[in-house]
């Protein structure tokens, strides 16, 4: 059980590579960098194969039957003295514990295998693609750091460690998108990706808090055990809130409406980055998280409906934009958003294993498409606009053939991988709970038609049609080196044969094979089976209709399969009609038929502009600025006018009071109080003063007169 017990080595190997790059990368030769960084991933892939093999052996023993394998490296957050206890929703005390623990079960095994496998192929590809670029060691350092984060995310045994990986992949996405940081468009795109991701992370965190508060633990095994115990009613409001918030996080990471806007801009990064992060691995993290929380989602039918509807709408929305884009990478970016919508549609209707199967097949053909596009761009000396390509079929044959295989896969043409996974999703959508879900099937069907159209448009404009490039570019067209074409071939083989892992029973029955042919679904049975039972119990009508587990042959299934293939064929035919002979200055059929529709689609429904108006506030709506910048402006206005106004007002009042006080003092106190009596005294004494003549004899006369008066008074009284 070496690989199982040392499963923590798998993320640590690329971390080691990243650390070496960080400290010594600048001094190393390109060959050493490649050897080290690619080597760590190759080792990680081999160890993953070993771990998955040993797990299947371990879990088939009777005492470990269908149990996930857990190993805890160390206790990261938590104490055994009860110091990190917190009160739960029902008042009990729960210990907060988040370990550096690793969980291996069928779900994480699948992710582990394709992440390390596709990651390995992309690392090998990058040695060829980035051979002439600067910052070689930085690129591989970031790539290895990304692999470390992604593997931590996948292997985590609790939500908190998964969140660490979640944030790590967001960080690496930012670093890698802004790899050519001298370009402002690249740094802007990196910022956009990180910020929009962060909005989703807020939802993830809040959902995590709800779960911790409600269940008392964040470990997957504990939460799943509690959810399956039947203690919680279906439709529980807290669980609904928690799952909706988790889904917000998934929307941010997996680019669903309304947080998908960062993915097309993320094409500013080098093409291997787009292949790894934005096609095969990081964007599937949201799907992984929802699949991992399937026990919770099943208990919240409202959340499931939301997931399904958002997924379906995103699928058709992104596909419609992809119909008219001219940059080869942007078409693939919108295709990724659309296919992710399919995956969420599958999860939302309860077909978890179908969604995971589509993640699996999509990783191969989407990575192949991106790497092939990188090969085309490499051949075209950096040209990415399809209007300037054409007739490359014979010049870069390996690239052409592998990309054609990938296109057949994504369009859903049997027996390529995409057909089985996409068809399974559409069939599950049709047979879901209520007839209303047929609408979702129809949306998925229309999206499939669009997918086929725009993918074959890409093929025709790039490889067929007339050459539209300049002479100097045409001279330099060459097939890519073996380091780049080898991964293309390997991925093409996988796109061809991976589908057979999930061969539907209905088709197998046609050729007389009975029993479980859908090995994929069987493999994932321990993870999802209980959910299927709970799901069935929610809608009694489903027991009658057509239960997923039991394959009752339904004629409708064959009809839908034929319709899907017909849609793919129709897409091929229409694209061929419009583009197979496209020469310089060709017209788009949509532009010719309905120019306003074309403009809206070309401008991506003006969503980015709308966000500029409403959420960021980079553009004003009339005179008012909304959004975050508007909030800043409003706060500044408040500060300048109201807060400072209050301060200034206080000063003004003080001055006013001082003025009044000084007037009072000068005129009233001094004037009336002090000078008044003086003036009064002077006024009153004026007459009295007149008597003072200073003549002595006059005084004597007055005295005498007084004396005579007295005498007369006494004599005659």
């Amino acid at each position: 059980m070496f690989f199982l017990s040392h499963i923590w080595l798998i993320p640590l190997l690329p971390a080691f590579g990243a650390a070496i790059m960080f400290f010594f990368g600048r001094k190393l030769q390109k060959a050493s960098v490649s050897a080290l960084c690619v080597g760590t991933i190759v080792l990680a892939f081999l160890m993953s194969c070993g771990a998955a093999w040993q797990y299947s052996a371990w879990s088939s023993t009777p005492e470990n039957f269908h149990k996930p394998y857990q190993t805890i490296l160390y206790t990261w957050l938590g104490t055994d003295t009860g110091q990190m206890n917190y009160p739960m929703q029902d008042g009990k005390s729960a210990a907060f514990q988040a370990d550096a623990g690793f969980l291996l079960d069928p779900l994480s095994s699948i992710w582990l295998l394709f992440v390390t496998g596709v990651g390995m192929l992309i690392h090998i590809y990058s040695t060829g693609y980035m051979a002439h670029e600067g910052g070689y060691y930085r690129f591989f350092g970031y790539l290895n750091l990304f692999m470390f984060s992604m593997l931590t995310l996948i292997l985590a045994n609790n939500y908190v460690l998964m969140f660490v990986g979640w944030e790590g992949v967001g960080l690496c996405s930012y670093l890698l998108i802004g790899f050519y940081f001298h370009r402002k468009s690249a740094t802007d795109a990196g910022n956009k990706a990180f910020i929009v991701n962060r909005i989703g992370d807020a939802g993830f965190l809040l959902g995590m808090f709800f779960i911790a508060w409600y269940f008392g633990s964040l470990r997957f095994t504990d939460v799943n055990h509690l959810a399956h115990s039947g203690r919680f009613a279906i439709g529980d409001p807290i669980i609904t809130a928690a799952t909706l918030l988790l889904f917000v996080g998934a929307c941010g990471k997996s680019a669903q409406i309304p947080l998908y806007v960062w993915l097309p801009d993320a094409m500013e990064g080098p093409t291997p980055v787009s292949a790894l992060i934005h096609a095969a691995t990081m964007v599937t993290a949201g799907v992984y998280m929802v699949a991992r929380s399937n026990a919770l989602f099943v208990l919240a039918p409202t959340s499931m409906k939301t997931v399904a509807i958002v997924g379906a709408l995103t699928a058709i929305f992104a596909a419609s934009i992809g119909l008219v884009q001219n940059d080869i990478k942007r078409v693939l970016a919108y295709s990724t958003v659309s296919q992710l919508g399919y995956m969420f549609l599958a999860l939302g209707v309860g077909a978890f294993s179908a969604g995971v199967f589509h993640v699996f097949t999509h990783a191969f053909f989407k990575a192949l498409l991106f790497l092939g596009a990188g090969s085309v761009i490499h051949a075209m000396s950096g040209e990415q606009d399809m209007r300037n390509m054409g007739a490359l079929r014979d010049r870069i044959p390996i690239t052409y053939r592998t990309m054609f295989i990938a296109t057949l896969a994504i369009a859903g043409i049997p027996p390529f991988a995409g057909f089985f996974s996409k068809d399974e999703i559409l069939w599950q959508a049709w047979t879901s709970e209520s007839v209303a879900y047929h609408v979702l099937w129809f949306i998925g069907y229309a999206t499939a038609l669009m997918t086929a159209f725009y993918m074959f448009r890409l093929i025709f404009l790039t490889f067929y049609s007339k050459p539209r490039m300049s002479r100097e570019v045409e001279h330099h067209i060459h097939e890519s080196p073996a380091s780049m074409t080898m991964p293309l071939v390997v991925l093409a083989v996988m796109s061809l044969f991976a589908g057979f892992l999930g061969f539907p029973q209905s088709l197998a029955r046609l050729v007389g094979i009975h029993g479980q042919t859908n090995r994929f679904e069987a493999f994932l049975d321990p993870v999802f089976s209980k959910e299927a039972q709970v799901f069935k119990a929610e809608e009694p009508s489903q027991l009658a209709a057509g239960i997923k587990e039991e394959e009752k042959t339904s004629g409708i299934e064959y009809l839908l399969m034929l319709l899907s293939v017909a849609a793919a064929g129709l897409g091929y035919y229409m694209a061929g009609r419009a583009y197979s002979n496209a020469d310089k200055g060709y017209t788009e059929p949509i532009a010719a038929a309905a120019p306003p529709v074309y403009n809206v689609l070309l401008n991506k429904y003006y969503v980015d502009e709308g966000y500029d108006y409403v959420f960021t506030g980079r553009r004003k709506v009339g005179d008012v600025r909304l959004g975050v910048l508007g909030l800043g402006e409003a706060s500044s206005w408040f500060d300048v006018h109201i807060v400072d106004g209050a301060v200034n007002g206080a000063g003004w009042i003080t001055r006013l009071t001082a003025t009044i006080s000084s007037w009072w003092d000068k005129w009233i106190i001094d004037g009336i109080g002090v000078n008044g009596p003086a003036i009064l005294a002077r006024m009153l004494s004026y007459p009295a003063r007149l008597f003072e003549w200073g003549l002595v004899q006059w005084y004597a006369l007055v005295m005498t007169a007084g004396l005579v008066g007295f005498v007369f008074y006494y004599v005659y009284h």
């Binding site: 003072e692 200073g694 004899q697 006369l701």
Partner: protein, 105 residues
């Protein structure tokens, strides 16, 4: 022989009154300070006369004793008055009482 005019107390009183009146008029009207002082002496002496007359009339000696006091007092007063006069003269170089008017308003 029998005199035709009996000198009664009334005659002394009238004389005293006349001298008093002269003295008062002198105080009120004379310009020279020395004359004013002499008039004041005259008033005092008139009062002495009155006192002696009444003493004779009543047969007691009270009036005469009081008159001795008045004479003493008049002497002292004259001395003080002359002192003031000399101080005044030193200041103003004149003995006109009209010019003692510094306390005018």
């Amino acid at each position: 022989m029998e005199s035709m005019l009996h000198i009664t107390t009334l005659h002394y009183l009238v004389l005293g009154a006349a001298l008093f009146l002269l003295g008062v008029i002198g105080v009120l009207t004379r310009r020279n300070v020395v004359i004013v002082l002499m008039s004041i002496e005259l008033i005092l002496n008139a009062v002495n006369l009155n006192l002696v007359a009444f003493s004779r009339m009543s047969g007691g000696l009270h009036g005469q004793v009081f008159a001795i006091f008045v004479i003493t007092d008049a002497a002292a007063e004259a001395a003080v008055g002359l002192g003031i006069l000399i101080a005044f003269f030193r200041n103003k170089e004149t003995v006109n009482i009209d010019e003692v008017n510094l306390l005018k308003w």
